[in-house]
């Protein structure tokens, strides 16, 4: 079996269908180096977070090892000011590329607050989502809202909703409803599928009938791009084109990034029970960071010294984030009651008072 990332690609997205200056321009060398910087930082942070869990600093974590190119490429393709990201529980790399405060992001893995402590409105990065497929419809609704807003404002291109989902999530009814709603509403949303080969222990072959989520798009009259998800430049380009298409009001697009979950599903998972190290080697293919390093060397825009410097910097950065995570304190129990409603109720107020009396003895 060949590396999954190299699976036959599919591209039904009309090229140049939408004028998109940014997407047309191939990334210049500064941009290329910046992409590597992000990849290196994300890799470092992901590896560190796994270590934090082993050290007991955080109770659990969902590694994205191997998906760095897919996540950094996607995150780098959207506009922090006009677009909105709807992540799952594994989009640490997108959060990083999108500029989310990573200590606030990691707070969810420290069991401090389910949605994370970052501000979704300021960051345009929706709260951490633990329901598989749960937020895909939200992206469609949010995106349709941009269309409705545009009806009143000048047509300066639409804000785009970027919905993240996995191969497993594609089985959920909500994802079908989301794709159908989006196509009917012509909503500016991009369904970004990270097909990483696994849903916990279930391989894509037993999950996605037909073998490709991108191939489903045609059934909704939607364009789709299936791309090598371990090639950061390919992902960046494909996502930019998809976003430009949606931004131009031409409707939703599916991007399926073929990648591989090189690590366990989560720190409590044991992949040895359902796949061998050989499988991992063959299916995983070449490490996306190694690939991009070779690419940069080939292009002559970077050298070993650059990589060493960036990687060391990433290590320091991860250590700083660790300090921040260590310093994170639990939220007061009173916040259980504070955020249930915008306007609390007498019943809830009474429960909060009783909790204070019995648990805080005040």
């Amino acid at each position: 079996m060949a590396p999954r990332a190299l699976a036959a690609t599919l591209d039904t997205l009309p090229t140049g269908s939408a004028r998109h200056s940014s997407a047309d321009a191939a990334p210049d060398s500064a941009r290329l180096l910046d992409l590597y910087r992000m990849l290196s930082n994300v890799r470092q942070l992901d590896t560190s977070a796994v270590a934090w869990q082993r050290q007991g600093l955080i109770p659990g974590y969902a590694p994205m090892l191997g998906q760095e190119a897919a996540q950094v490429g996607a995150g780098a393709a959207v506009d922090k000011t006009s677009d909105f990201v709807f992540p799952t529980y594994r989009e640490m790399g997108v959060a990083y590329a999108f500029g989310v405060n990573m200590v606030e992001y990691m707070s969810t893995h420290k069991a401090i607050w389910h949605g994370g402590l970052y501000d979704p409105v300021e960051t345009h990065f929706a709260p951490f989502q633990a329901v598989v497929g749960g937020s895909v419809l939200h992206a469609v609704g949010w995106a349709h809202g941009q269309t409705l807003n545009a009806a009143s404002t000048a047509g300066a291109g639409l804000g785009v909703g970027l919905a993240f989902l996995g191969d497993g999530a594609s089985s959920q009814g909500d994802v079908h409803e989301a794709m159908n709603f989006a196509a009917i509403l012509k909503a500016p949303v991009v369904f970004f599928v990270q097909n990483n080969g696994w849903a916990i222990s279930v391989p894509t072959e037993q999950q996605v009938a037909g073998g490709s989520v991108a191939a489903r798009a045609a059934g909704y009259g939607m364009p789709a791009v299936r791309v090598d998800g371990n090639d950061v430049l390919a992902v960046l380009e494909a996502t930019k084109r998809a976003v430009a298409h949606a931004r131009a009001g031409l409707g939703p697009v599916v991007v399926e990034a073929m990648t591989y979950r090189r690590g366990p599903h989560s720190t409590s998972d044991d992949p040895g029970r359902y796949r061998t190290l050989d499988d991992e080697k063959i299916d995983g293919g070449e490490d996306p960071l190694t690939r991009f390093r070779s690419e940069l060397l080939a292009r002559g825009v970077a050298d070993a010294a650059f990589f060493a410097g960036v990687d060391a910097e990433a290590q320091r950065h991860a250590d700083d984030i660790r300090d921040g995570v260590v310093a994170l304190e639990s939220r007061p129990g009173s916040e259980m009651f504070d955020f249930v409603f915008q306007e609390s109720t007498p019943t809830l107020g009474a429960q909060a008072r009783q909790w204070r009396e019995e648990s805080e003895h005040v």
Binding site: F84, W113, H114, G115, L117, D119, P120, V121, A126, P127, F128, V131, G134, S135, V136, L137, H138, A139, V140, G141, W142, A143, H144, G145, Q146, L148, N149, A151, G161, G173, D174, E177, A178, N180, F181, I184, E335, D338, F339, V340, F341, Q342, E343, T345, P346, T347, L348
Partner: protein
């Protein structure tokens, strides 16, 4: 916070009109859409058709297909889209066509709509008013006569209200749509066509909160909501002929429940019967009975009676009147609390 209906008619020189509940809700929706340009009405067949009950009649013509639109046939899709629209700053007022078809949306309602404000630490409020034509009594096909109030009331993050007459439907819907939190608005479809007096003048907030005494009495309190309120009023009429004065408390807000209003009434009457259409076990009547049994422990002269639907699937039209609490069954419940003697 309990208020008597007299309160409404007291105030003089205020615009009174006769409307059916269906007309009252339609009028409220029109006023909401008119006053709030972020408000959106959508669902299955709510646009061109104006809803299978004509509750949204004329709204698309008047406010356009951007503000009032038909969706594909998928309730989870309707709720999930509403959540995203709320995140984009809109005030969605979606409809699920019938109570029984809220079930496909339960995951989005419970894990997303009810929690987004909490999950986002108050940064993503969900000012969503979900209209659900509810309860039975119209001899409809399966799943068109369900009572979901106890399911919804159990969900942290939701508020739940059900109007008993056109006056309340008009004002409670406008009030719900003005709230920054998700509200499930349960419309007693069996009462859509009954006309009643509607006072269009704004009432101060207090009128919109808590329960109301639909009929004062002193021998026992009948506690009900939705379509059961008018039935309890009938029962009170009949009982009055035998000199039994039943108080009828219209709970209205099924979450939060007006605990003070319940306690005030039952501590006076010292006997209570809670009446609802939904199945008995773990129905909202259990919560009401538990609250009253606690708050009125010293004054209660008999166990709180629950006259409810049975623990059976909502039956076909022919058996509807056997399932929904009817006047006889409610009277038997009244008799039990009145005749109860400590053993």
């Amino acid at each position: 916070m309990s208020d008597t209906l007299e309160f409404v008619t007291e105030a003089a020189t205020i615009p009174l009109v006769q409307l059916s509940m269906q007309q009252a809700i339609n009028r409220a929706l029109a006023e909401i859409l008119d006053a709030d340009d972020r408000a959106l009405v959508f669902g299955e067949d709510v646009g061109v058709l104006g809803g299978v009950f004509r509750v949204t009649d004329g709204l698309q013509q008047r406010f356009g297909a951007n503000r009032v639109f038909d969706t594909p046939l998928a309730e989870s899709g309707i709720l999930g889209t509403a959540i995203g629209l709320a995140m984009a700053g809109f005030h969605p007022i979606p409809e699920v066509q019938f109570d029984g078809f809220a079930y496909p949306a339960v995951n989005q309602i419970i894990t997303q709509l009810a929690r987004m404000n909490y999950r986002s630490r108050g940064r993503l409020p969900m000012p969503v008013t979900l209209r659900v034509p509810s309860f039975g009594g119209i001899r409809a096909p399966e799943h068109h006569g369900e009572s979901l109030e106890s399911l919804f009331a159990h969900v942290p993050g939701l508020k739940v209200v059900s109007p008993a007459n056109p006056q309340q439907a008009y004002h409670l819907l406008k009030h719900a749509a003005s709230m920054p939190d998700p509200v499930i608005f349960m419309e007693p479809k069996a009462r859509y066509w009954n006309k009643g007096e509607v006072n269009l003048a704004d009432n101060e907030g207090s009128f919109l909160e808590g329960s109301v005494i639909a009929r004062p009495g002193k021998h026992a309190t009948l506690i009900a909501w939705g379509a059961m309120v008018s039935r309890c009023l009938q029962v009170a009429e009949l009982a009055a002929e035998d000199g039994i004065e039943l108080e009828v408390l219209d709970l209205r807000w099924l979450k939060p429940i007006d605990e003070a209003g319940l306690a005030a009434s039952v501590s006076r009457t010292r006997r209570a019967i809670v009446v609802h259409e939904g199945p008995h076990t773990a129905g909202l009547g259990a919560e009401v009975a538990a609250l009253v049994s606690q708050s009125c422990f010293d004054s209660l002269r008999a166990p709180v009676e629950r006259v409810t639907g049975f623990d059976v699937p909502y039956p076909s039209g022919d058996l509807e009147d056997e399932y929904i609490p009817n006047i006889d069954r409610i009277l038997f419940g009244v008799q039990r609390v009145l005749e109860y003697r400590r053993g």
